[in-house]
Amino acid sequence: MADDKTSVDRRGFLKYAATGAVAAAVPNSMHAQEHDHDHDHDHDHQVVPSDPALRTKALESLLVEKGLVDRAALDALVDAYENKIGPRNGARVVARAWVDSAYKERLLNNAPAAIAELGYGAVQDEHLVVLENGPRVHNLVVCTLCSCYPWPMLGLPPVWYKSAPYRSRAVIDPRGVLREFGLELPEDVEVRVSDSTAEVRYLVLPERPAGTEKMTEEELAALVTRDAMIGAAKIEPPPGGKA
């Protein structure tokens, strides 16, 4: 348990407390401050009798023993989440749309078919819709009711996307939310917020930055950020590129 006990220091606690990101770890953190030594957590003044790390471990053992889950499958799933699915998939799609206007049209009209062209055929039934950002229109995606997010294109969502502050305010004050991300939108830009209430998933096609005309598709893909594909950011021109 040493890793769990020490992974969230006081600063980390303060940083994430507002989002609830490490709410589960907070008692551990406080516990560690009270008892700055290694020991088991089973003595009588334990602060948290059942922390989620221990409960998860116990649940996994039980499910494996009962044959309800296969431990190797769990290992493979963790590996997939951490290393296989992620925003690089979405970035490839965006870069292709930037260099190939016919592809962009297909992507905006029928995203599942267009992403299948790039070899993502397995996710064709993900009901993906791509929304284009430009100088006049800015799209922002949220899920106010839970945490719906285009996993095959972007991987698992970041903590801020799942947090109460973002989910609550993105629909009522999108400009204020974007300001917190450092993006100030002019009054004459139309802001469209998509609330993912169904099984349709939304991916934002960000505006291609100036100064990238000579870049290859691969170089362009490297510029594309996760936040820009949610609509929480624009894509910065590359260093050295003309603004």
Binding site: A24, L74, L156, I172, D173, R192
Partner: protein, 220 residues
């Protein structure tokens, strides 16, 4: 259910705090929980809608206090017990009940790459369902307050909008979450102006697009 999960339009929840170079999981157990969630889902004993509802019915104070994966843990234990896959006693002891049969997991490591990021298909193009609306029509979201699962957020109820896209026929969460069948319906994207939702202080240009099932809507 008018629960704490229905957060759209609430204020004063604190600043948004993006984390630079955020890891996929902050602690190892979160990854195990995400994996367990997917692996037990493969049994097909509950739908995605039922699992969402399992989060919504957490006590509101717990919902706000718990981390994301702690909610998953609590929800999954409840679903496993409710669907008879484990007993409360087994959860408490951490051991299979004496004499219980060992099952064969439906999800193997070899199958993981094909399913890891996927949720399944919720479109039901063959289902019999009437589309009461078409693109361009004005609609009003119904003022309804069901005590069960719904995907009609409170902030849109009673508000007037326009159908901007027809998505097709989809599983209906309000019944499916309660094991009452998929009862598929037509699904639309409805555009609501920010002023309709939030009043005259909102930007005249801005809008919110919400996906809504046929029975959430009336003609306006």
């Amino acid at each position: 259910m008018n629960g704490i999960h229905d957060m759209g339009g609430m204020q004063d929840m604190g600043p948004i705090q993006p984390e630079k170079n955020e890891p996929v999981f902050h602690q190892a157990w979160e990854g195990r929980m995400a994996a367990i969630n997917r692996a037990i889902g493969a049994w097909g004993k509950w739908s995605l809608d039922a699992s969402r509802h399992g989060i919504e019915i957490l006590p509101p104070a717990d919902y706000l206090r718990m981390s994301y994966y702690e909610k998953w843990l609590t929800r999954n234990v409840e679903l496993l017990v409710k669907r008879g896959m484990v007993t409360r006693e087994e959860i408490e002891t951490g051991k299979p009940a004496p004499g219980s049969q060992k099952a064969t997991p439906p999800l193997t490591a070899a199958a993981v790459p094909a399913v890891a990021g996927r949720r399944g298909n919720f479109m039901r193009p063959e289902a019999e369902a009437t589309a009461r609306f078409e693109v361009g029509q004005n609609v009003r979201a119904r003022n309804m307050n069901p005590v069960g699962h719904t995907r009609l957020p409170r902030y849109a109820r009673g508000k007037k909008g326009t159908i901007v896209r027809h998505h097709g026929i989809f599983v209906f969460p309000d019944t499916n979450a309660h094991f009452l069948g998929e009862q598929p319906q037509h699904l639309y994207s409805v555009r609501f102006s920010a002023r309709e939702l939030w009043g005259d202080d909102a930007s005249p240009r801005d809008s919110v697009y919400i996906d809504m099932w046929d029975s959430y809507l009336d003609h306006a």
